[in-house]
Structure formats: structure tokens, C-alpha cells
Point group: C2
Amino acid sequence: MFYSENGNGLNLMTMDAEQLRENAHKMVDVIADYYKNIESFPVLSQVEPGYLQKLIPDSAPVQPESLQSVLQDIETKILPGVTHWQSPNFFAYFPINGSIAGFLGEMLSAGINMMGISWITSPAATELEMIVLDWLANLLKLPNDFLSKGPGGGVIQGTASEAVLVVLLAARDRILREIGKDALGKLVVYGSDQTHSCFEKACQIVGIRPENLRLLRTETCNEYALSPESLADAISHDIATGLIPFFLCATVGTTSSTAVDPLHALGKIIKRYRIWFHVDAAYAGSACICPEYRHHLNGIEEADSFNMNCHKWFLTNFDCSALWIKDRNALIQSLSTNPEYLKNKASQGRTVIDYKDWEIPLGRRFRSLKLWMVLRLYGVEKLQSYIRNHIKLAQQFEDLVAQDTRFEIVATRTFSLVCFRLLPPNKNEEYANKLNSDLLDAVNSSGKIFISHTVLSGNYILRFVVGAPLTEERHIVAAWKLFQEASSSLLENS
Amino acid sequence: MFYSENGNGLNLMTMDAEQLRENAHKMVDVIADYYKNIESFPVLSQVEPGYLQKLIPDSAPVQPESLQSVLQDIETKILPGVTHWQSPNFFAYFPINGSIAGFLGEMLSAGINMMGISWITSPAATELEMIVLDWLANLLKLPNDFLSKGPGGGVIQGTASEAVLVVLLAARDRILREIGKDALGKLVVYGSDQTHSCFEKACQIVGIRPENLRLLRTETCNEYALSPESLADAISHDIATGLIPFFLCATVGTTSSTAVDPLHALGKIIKRYRIWFHVDAAYAGSACICPEYRHHLNGIEEADSFNMNCHKWFLTNFDCSALWIKDRNALIQSLSTNPEYLKNKASQGRTVIDYKDWEIPLGRRFRSLKLWMVLRLYGVEKLQSYIRNHIKLAQQFEDLVAQDTRFEIVATRTFSLVCFRLLPPNKNEEYANKLNSDLLDAVNSSGKIFISHTVLSGNYILRFVVGAPLTEERHIVAAWKLFQEASSSLLENS
């Protein structure tokens, strides 16, 4: 194979330094132009289901096509079907942060394209991950038990779903080793009705009975935080009926309203039992690098494991979910494999960490690279300013909502999420839900912003999350204007 | 935040089109230079455990550092700790393919940095994945039941470990829905002693008893393939003792020796029972796009699920593990969640696929982009030539080994893996194992090539896999010369 000089690019080699250079420079410009024009796209894709099938051939080409024609298709066929998570007008769900530093790290990792299965398969990947997660643990002021120097340590998982799954598994096996496998049906787990759905999914996977999943009811008066009393009551009741409590998932920053479960009080209760205490701070963990928000992690000393998604609000391109545990052996006992074809002296000598034994997948990318680059290229102070700026913008939005008496703020804003709704003149709750759902549809179908919703205490609530790297005050102001106009129009027509 | 013109790069913004352009162009050159110089690095990193801790500060910097200083550290501190999977002299494990097309796809996916959780969160991501996996299914001549038009379909998982886990879960829940959860302890799974270790791990995760995992013994005379007779016997025996067979994992291209389990014969046996039949072709599946290798998939009609890693030998940068199933509802029943905050009209109307319900993680990258680009930028014929070239090179290596009477080829080469060993003059088996282990250490510590090993029938065996995109005939010849020299030296000193 050789490179065609006529520029049609049809003789792309599988790998070649100069062809990679030439074509990757083109792709850089495509991506930079994407960011230059990002505000011109509808934030939420407006295509209909099945749109792409009509635009793309039924089969792969026999002969190569040119990069030019692929790039044209990306512009005309793919981008219309993309919902732009990096748009400054993306306020839905929780953010997925991309940044220049994170992107450079992804590029390098994809370029080197190596496996961090075992230490030997790329020592730098394992060692940098240990070091950088120690850095981040220190920024969060996590207890020393979570550092890699002792029996604990950090590991990058793909998502919070995988993080809670692996610790649940470690906890399940730890208790079953003591009391026997037949007790699986008696194991009980605890969370709140605000705990992320990945917890229920993890329970299903590891075989916890659905009837033994306690998603304890939260109350408006408690700001939707898990009540220590209800946890204590549930545990006592379960023990009395012969069940075996063994896992608690608390949340710092729930998905619906960023409620913060009281870690310290919860930790005190479960201390009396042998319950694995996992803390999910997937979104809000990032804020805790700022001293003024660190108190939300008070009580983390009691936890067995802690998770924060650097790909959410910490400028690290997806995926990068940081998980720390106090007892890495519990994980390893559940997840290690030792086939002959992966044996090597470093692993057999137990002088190294093999991250394959800390996670579900065997293969793993060099994900610490991008986190390391984010931390170094921005530095701690800029990362703190970044978080504070988003929280300030959310506060501005909240102030705008509060000034309009047609609206209600339905949960105290703790971080960068504002939960609010439009109140109908007639105060009919059923109608209120319909009205807010219509308002969501109206703003989202405009293509100007994208928000999502939740239900709290039976009410349909709008969620407005500030967290995209490009979001500035002008975007907040314009978004609010859009809400006001759409609301006026809906109320007029009702 | 503004951009510093003085070039120290210390005011890198979180995101900005022009800064991204400038810095990403620099990174392209770093990566292109990496490929230009890739043969100058020791293939297997020669660092000692803990090397990086001594080179990197204890904490994250408070102030930003320059890209220049990060890039210097990558050159001087990170690269020495990297094992170069893209080196043309990497012959260990199975390959992890990177290519120009795959890299461009990774860049674009990392650049757009969106989530394909549900259809609505980026319709193009879901729809392109469906289409491209249909393309690939057609290239592999998979039965129509695996196409997305019917009740089946394809999905990109991260790894083969995740692929087997999700189908095992679907199979577990399907049978437990019928016979009740209390029967979990009676469920039996089947594979061979050559089945990849991820199968055992998946069983452990979903709660299959270790004593109910049948890894049936394979024999040299069968080329280490699973014997249909031994499967039939095991199933009969298990049923007779009151156990419940429910899952078979067959392999096309085992890790140790690329053995091919006889799918058709195995399928006929399990047809009499309600056993989920999964086929793991993680490595060898790629070869089956060539008509002359397609027969290894004969019998795939009987399978319920099929998996092939495009990131192994199909030029698609890690990660991209293609999984097809006949009954997607079985997966969805095990893995779906439906929290309020993710509800949307498209999902509720059941007019779309939400891939979050086909996998463990919630978040997911736009991975179909790179596979689409690989298929389009290379085209089917070039992909077939790529596979054939590697197999031809492996054959050349095999011929070289066969010409040297000091060596033995220990398993028939089917694809691009050659299994061989050096025979000691005294024929002592224990000494033979030591000798080959020493030979492996000698070639790997030279830094010139990297190979790995396995054990077959109690013998320590060297595995030489051709599969890196840059490997040419000269690398094969040089590798063989290295083996010969190292062997002569070992035999002289013994």
C-alpha cells in the first residue's frame, strides 16, 4: 500500500505517520470549526426516529471512500442527528464536560492505543492512574485510607454505574464468604427514592432480590435527603424479620434535585452493622474541591467507597469515573482472574497493581492521561473558579426565576441545578404538570436550549443545570427570556 | 479567561475553538512523530515497578502548567513506561488495532463528546450504531435474525467481557423468570478449558456457583476445541443430578491457540434444551469477513448471541466490541431502567432503541463513528487484504519455525497465531518449560519484540501473533532471527 499523491485520499494506509499527520490535521480543523459554530446548531437534535436509515446505504463499501466524502456526510447526515452536549445552551441532565485539555488527553490516549490490563501491559498507565487519583483524593480531602499507599486506592471506571456495580459485588462476596452463598436471597440494600437508577440496575445484576431493595422515601421537608431515622428503622425491621442488611448507597448531589444525604449521620447508624457504605457523588463531587463546598463530604471517613465522575463537571472528556475504595482486596477477590496467558513475573510477584482485577472489562484505555492533563493544564485554582462560576450562573438563573411570580422554585439550590416550575393560575396540580411538560417541549423544540425534567413529590419539575464549559452569563439570560416568552404564550393559549 | 499571546500557553481556556485548533495541531504532530519513531522504543516497557512515583510530584499543581512542559513529561516520563501495542514488533496476546481511520473516528467522537444514553440524547449515535452493526453482520454473513430490522440487533460494548456478561445476565433472568429465583444455585454453564477467563468472571458476577461452571477438558487430538460428546455427556449428567443447564459459551479462536469450537455440532446438542448459546469470536471474528475463513462460523445460525472485537484485528481503535443478539428483549428485560429524569416521548412511545438498556453503563460514547470510518475509508476489499496479509505473515513465520529442527509447532495454525516451543536436547519436559520461559524473557527483555505465552497440555508454549497494522515481512524475519540467536545462546549456556 502506498499513498496516493493525487489527493483523492483513496489509498489511506492502515497506519503511516505522515498520512496520519495530514489527515488528523484536517480532522482538528473539523473539530475546531464545530466548536466555532456550535451555537448555530439546534441544541437538541430535531430529527425523527429512523432518519438516518434513509440517508445511508444498506451495506459497507467494497472500495475505499475518501475522507472528504465521509466529512461531508458527517456535516450533512450525522450532525443533524447530534444533540450537542458541549453547547453553551445545554442545560439538561447533568453536564458531560469536554475541554481542550481533556480532548488533548483523549487524542493522545487514542493515538498510543495501548491496553492497561495488567501493570506489564503498560506500566505508565497503571502508575499514572494511581498517582493522579491520589492527587484528586487529596484535592477532595478524602481520608488517607482511600490513597494508594495503604490497602485502598483509586481506579478509573467508565461510569458511576460500573463503580457502584463493582463495589456492590465486592460487598456481596465479602458477606457471602462469611455466611454462605445460600444467604443471597436475604441480603438487603439501602438507598433513597432519589438514588440514581444505576443502583437498582447493579442490584439486579448481582442478584439482590427486588423485594430486598429499600429505596427509602424522602420528604420535601428534608430537601429529598435520606433520613437517618428512616434508615435506622428499616435496618431494625429487616433484622427483626431475619434479613441481612449489607449495603448502603448514599448520594451527594442526587440526580433529580442535587440533594445531599447526611453522610455523617448515616455512617453512625450503619457502623453498628457490617454494612458496606458507598457514596455516589458522581456530579457534585467536583464541587467539593472548593473549600466552601467540601462540608458536603463530611462523614466520608465512614464510607467504604466513594465515586465522582470527572467526565461530568471536571473538564475530563467522557469516560472517566473516579472510584476510591478503602479495601482494594475486597474488589480484587471478586474481580480477579489469573489465566495462564496473562501471567507475568510482576503480577505473580505481587509487587504491582493489575487494574483488570478492579473492574468488569479486561481491556482498558489510558484514561488517566486526560485527567492528568486537565489537572496540570488548568491547575487547582482555575478548576475551583470554573466550578464557582457555574454555581454563580445557576444562582443568577435562580434569581431570575424568583423574580417572576408565575414561577416557583421547588428545591433549595445547592450546586448548579435549579429546580423550578411554572404555576398555573388555577393551581390545579394535574394541569400544572401538563403545563410544565408543554413548557419543556416548547423550549426544547425551539432548538435554542435543551433542558430535562424530573418529578418531585408527584409534581413535574423543570431542571436547569449549568455546567457546560462554554456557558456564559449571556446564555443564562437568553435562556430565561426563552422560558418567559414560552410561558406567556402557553398561559395565553390555555 | 482570555488567551495569552505570549505563547507560554498558561491561559488555556476550558474550551475555545481557536485554542483547541492550535493545541490539537500540536498534539497531532506529537502523535504522528510517535508513529514515525515507534520502532525506536523497546516494545515491552523496561521500567521497574514504582518508577513513575519517583518522577511525578505528590500533588496537582495550583497554577496551570504549559502544554510544553506536559509534552516534555510525556516524552521523558510516560513513554518509557508504555508498552507499545502499535509497534510492528508487538506479537503478544492478541493485537489491539489502531489505524488512521480508527484514530480519526476517536478524535471526532472525543471532540463532539456526547452521550448516546437514549435515542433522544443523540439520535445519530444510536442510529449509526444500528446501521453499521447491520453492515458488519452482513459482511460476516450472520443470519438475518441478528439484524436490527427484526427482534434482534447489534450493539457496541466496551469489551468481550462486558458482552458475555450482559448475555449471561439476559439468559439467567430468562430462565429464572420461568422457574423462580430460588433456582439460581442450580443453574449450570458450559464452556471449555480454553474459554476466555472473562466467562468465569461473568459467571461469578451474576452469581453462578463456581461448582456449576463446567469448563470441559479439551484434548490435543481435537486441537483444543470443545468436544460435542463431552458437552452432551456433561449436560446429561447435570440434568440427571437435578441441575439446570442454561448457557453455553463457545469460542471461535481461543486465546491460547485460536482453537475453533464446532458451532454446528454444539448447536445441535443444545437445541434439545433451553440453553442460551453464545459465541465468542473476539479475535477471529474479523477473519470471517474473508470467504475462505467464513466456514469457521458455520453453525452460527444456532447461536443466540455473537461477539467480535473490532478493536482487536479490525483496525478500530479501542474500545469497540460488537455484540449481536437474536432477542433484544431478553437483554432489555435484564438491563433496562426507566427513571423519571430520563423519560422522553420517543422512549415512552417505544419507537426507538435506547442502548442504555442493552449494557451495564448508562453513559456511552459515539463509538460507531470510528467503525463506520474504518469501513468506509478502507472498504471491504482492503479489510480482507489486511487480514490475509497478516495470516500470510504468520504462515511465513510458521515456515521459518518448521525449518529449524530445534523447535516444535504445537498447534495447527488457523489464523495469525503461531504456537511453538524450543525443544531441549534432553527432552526433559520440566526443563523444556524453563527453557521456553527463559527464551520468552530473553526476547522480551531485548526490547526488540514482545511476545506472550500460554500453557497447553502442561507445556509452556510461546505465542507469536501477527496483527499489528505496521507489521511487515521484515519484522517477521527479524523476530525469527532474534528467536534463533536467543535460543542458541540459551542452549549453549545450558
